[in-house]
Symmetry: C2
C-alpha cells in the first residue's frame, strides 16, 4: 500500500462531468489499495470570474489580502464538490482548506511561498480511512493568520509540498495533456512523449516556455526529492516521470532532450549606455521585472523581460534616464525564444543549433548557453519553423506520434 498525492488542474475539474471522472479515478486508486490525498484547483474559469467581479467593484482591486480571501474560495468549492462526489461513490472523503491542511506560508498575498507544511489533520483523516482533499493554491500566513494564495502554479506546489511533508510515494500531476513531450505537438506532429526527464532539464523546459509544470513546483520537488508523475486526467497512459539528475539519463539518451519555445517575452534594448549595467538592473529589480538573457554589446544593453512587464520596464528606465545616462530605451514584443534542452548540449550542440536555424532562414539574436540549455531569440513569426527544424535536426521525433492533445493551451 502506497501513499499517493494526486493533483488535478482546473480543466480536469471543469464541470460536473469532469468532477465525476476525477472521483472515479480516485476511487480506482483507492481500490488498488492506496491511500490518496487529492489537491484540486478551482473549477475551470472560476478564478477569472472572481477577478472579473473584483474588477467590476473597483478600478484597481485590492488590497492583496482581500483578493486572496476572494480567490481562495474557488479551490474550496472544487474540493468540497469532489468530496461530495466521492461520498456518492461510497468512499468516505474529507475536504480541507489550505490552512486546515497545515500549509503555512509567508505573508506575501498573491504570491506567498510555502514555508512549512504540518499535515497533522491530513494524517488523522487518512488514518480514519478517508480520502483527503486539500484546496490547492492557498495557505495560512504565519505572520497574520490570514489566508494567502501562492500565485501561478500554486496548486502544483501545494501537491509537491504535501507529498514531501507526508513522505508520499509519488506525486501525480494530472493535466489535460499526456505528459512532457520533446516539443509542443501542436507545432511538431511527430513530437515524442518523454518517459522520464530529470529535475534539472524539466526546470529548464518549464522556465523556457513549457507550461505543463511551473518552475517553482519542479524546484520544490527537486529540493525535497519528490518524484513527479505528469499524467493526463483523460487517459490511463503512463505519462512522464520527472525525477533524478541529468547525468543518469545521458548514457543512452541523445544530447538534446527537448525543444522549448516561448512567446511570452519582449526584447528590451537600452542604447548608448555609458556606465555599468548594474544601475539598469537595479531599476528593473525595484520595479519587480524579471530580466533574462542580458547581453552587453558595445554601448548597448539588451535583455528579455516578460511581455506583460515590457511597458513597466521601459517606463521605469525612462524615469531614470538622467542618472543612468543612456540615449534611448525600446521594447520589441515581436520576438520568440527558442531553446534546446538536454544533458549534453555543451558538447558542440551550439554549432548545429546555429547552422540549422541559418539553413532554414531563421535569423537569431542574443544567443545564450548554459549547462543544460542553448537559447536564442528570433522573430515570433519564425518561431514554429525554428521549432520544427531543430526537432528534426536533433532527431527527437517518434515515428508513432501517439500523443493526443485536448488543446487547452496549457500543454506546452
Amino acid at each position: 500500500m502506497a501513499l499517493v498525492v494526486q493533483k488535478y488542474g482546473g480543466s480536469s475539474v471543469g464541470g460536473a462531468e469532469r468532477i465525476l471522472r476525477v472521483a472515479r479515478r480516485v476511487a480506482e486508486t483507492r481500490a488498488a489499495g492506496h491511500d490518496v490525498v487529492v489537491v484540486a484547483s478551482a473549477i475551470g474559469d472560476t478564478t477569472d470570474e472572481l477577478l472579473d467581479l473584483a474588477n467590476r467593484v473597483s478600478r484597481a482591486p485590492g488590497p492583496p489580502r482581500e483578493l486572496d480571501m476572494l480567490l481562495s474560495s474557488g479551490e474550496r468549492v472544487a474540493n468540497a464538490l469532489l468530496a461530495i462526489a466521492l461520498t456518492d461513490l461510497g468512499l468516505p472523503a474529507c475536504s480541507l482548506s489550505g490552512p486546515q491542511a497545515g500549509v503555512f506560508t509567508t505573508g506575501d498575498h498573491g504570491r506567498a511561498r510555502i514555508v512549512d507544511v504540518l499535515p497533522t489533520r491530513v494524517r488523522q483523516e487518512l488514518d480514519r480511512g478517508q480520502v483527503v482533499l486539500v484546496a490547492g493554491f492557498q495557505g495560512l500566513s504565519k505572520d497574520t493568520d490570514d489566508v494567502t494564495t501562492l500565485g501561478r502554479g500554486g496548486s502544483d506546489t501545494t501537491a509537491v509540498a504535501l507529498a514531501c511533508a507526508l513522505r508520499a510515494d509519488v506525486c501525480e500531476i494530472y493535466t489535460d495533456v499526456d505528459g512532457v513531450c520533446s516539443a509542443d505537438p501542436r507545432i511538431v506532429p511527430t513530437a515524442r512523449l518523454l518517459e522520464r526527464v530529470s529535475y534539472a532539464e524539466m526546470l529548464e523546459l518549464a522556465a523556457n516556455g513549457a507550461k505543463v509544470l511551473m518552475p517553482r513546483s519542479v524546484e520544490y520537488a527537486r529540493r525535497h526529492g519528490v518524484a513527479l508523475h505528469v499524467r493526463s486526467s483523460f487517459t490511463t497512459d503512463p505519462g512522464t516521470l520527472v525525477a533524478g539528475d541529468p547525468e543518469e539519463s545521458t548514457v543512452e539518451k541523445p544530447a538534446v532532450t527537448a525543444i522549448a519555445h516561448d512567446r511570452g517575452a519582449a526584447l528590451v534594448t537600452v542604447a548608448g549606455l555609458p556606465g555599468h549595467v548594474a544601475g539598469v538592473l537595479r531599476v528593473l529589480a525595484d520595479t519587480e521585472v524579471e530580466v533574462d538573457m542580458p547581453v552587453r554589446g558595445g554601448a548597448d544593453l539588451s535583455f528579455t523581460v516578460p511581455r506583460a512587464m515590457a511597458e513597466a520596464a521601459v517606463s521605469a528606465l525612462r524615469a531614470h534616464r538622467a542618472d543612468l545616462g543612456f540615449t534611448s530605451v525600446t521594447a520589441d514584443a515581436g520576438i520568440g525564444k527558442i531553446s534546446v534542452v538536454g544533458a549534453g548540449v555543451k558538447a558542440g550542440v551550439a554549432a548545429t543549433f546555429c547552422a540549422v536555424l541559418a539553413d532554414h532562414g531563421v535569423a537569431i539574436d542574443l544567443l545564450t548557453t548554459s549547462e543544460l540549455r542553448i537559447s536564442a531569440l528570433c522573430r515570433e513569426v519564425d518561431l514554429d519553423r525554428a521549432v520544427r527544424a531543430l526537432h528534426e535536426a536533433f532527431e527527437l521525433g517518434s515515428s508513432d506520434p501517439a500523443v493526443v492533445y485536448a488543446g487547452s493551451g496549457r500543454g506546452w
Copy 2:
C-alpha cells in the same frame, strides 16, 4: 461615536452595482463618525447555484460537513468583494471568515447554533480604523475545528450575535423591504410601516409567516437585549425598530399590531386515533418534523406541519400505523394560516376575529390563541381576502401608504 453592526442580505449584494451601493452606505456611516462591522450574505443566488453543482455530482449530496465547506464559500466571496469596493472608496477594510471573526458553533453541520462569539480579531481590526466585514451564516465547530453553516436566517443571527458580543449600539438589518408592516403590502395596499415592534410580537410575526426576520435571530436579540433596526438597503427611510417588551407599547397602541399569514403549512389529520397523542408526536419528533397547532377533536388529531415536510410526516406515521392504531392519516396542502398579533389580543379580539372572517365568507379551522396571537387555518384561496378583512376591521391601515416594495418575496 457609536459601534454599528450592519447586515446586508443576498439581494442587497446581488451584483456589482448593488455591492457598490452597499459600500457607499457603509462609507456614509463611517463618515458620520461611527465604527462599522458589516455582515453580508452570499451574493444573490450563489447558494442555490452551489447546491445545484452538488446535485449534479451526487444523487444525495453529502456529507453535511462537505456541504458546509461548499456553501460557506459564498459569504466569503461577497464580503471580500465588499472589502475591495470599500478600499476603492478610500476606506480601509478587512474581511473575516466566520471562524476568523471568532464565531463558534455546535457541530451540527447545516444547522449549527452559535455557542460563543470571541471577536478578538474583529476588535483588533476596528482599533486599526478598519471597516470589518464578517462572513455571515458560518462559524467554526467547537468540537472539530470545521466550518459550519447556521441554516436559514443564519446571517441575521451572525449579525445579532456579533452585535451582542461587541456590545454594539445597534444592529441594522438591511433588506429589500422598508421594514416590518401591519400586513404584507402586496396583499394590503394600505399596510402601515411599523416604527417599533416588541421582540415578543416580532417573534410571533416571524414564526407565523413574516419573512423579514427569522425567529431565531429575533429570539437571540431578545435574549441579549440587542436592538434590531430593520431597514431597506435601497432607501434611507427609518425602517422598524425591534426592541423592548409588548407591555410598553400597549398603552397608546391598539390591541392588534399586525396581521401575519403563512402559505407554507399543510394540515395533517390522523383519524380514528384510539390512544394518546404522545405516540404520534414522538414519531414526528424522531422524523424531525415540527408540529404546530395540534387539536384533538373526538377520535381525530389534527395539526399543521411545514408543507415541505408533509409527505415525510405522513410516511413516518403510516409506518407506525400498527402500533399507534389509528385508522388513516391524510395531509391537506391547500390551507393557509392567518394570525393577528398584538399585546392586547387576549381581550375579546378572538370574537371579532371570528366574526370578521365569517362576515367575509372565510371558513376557519383549528383556532388557537396565545398571549400575543390568535391564529386559524382557512383555505389558501381565501387567505388574501382574510388578511384584507382583518386589516381593515382592526383599523391597522395608513391613509398614506408610503411603502414601496422591491417585490423579492422576502418582504413578509
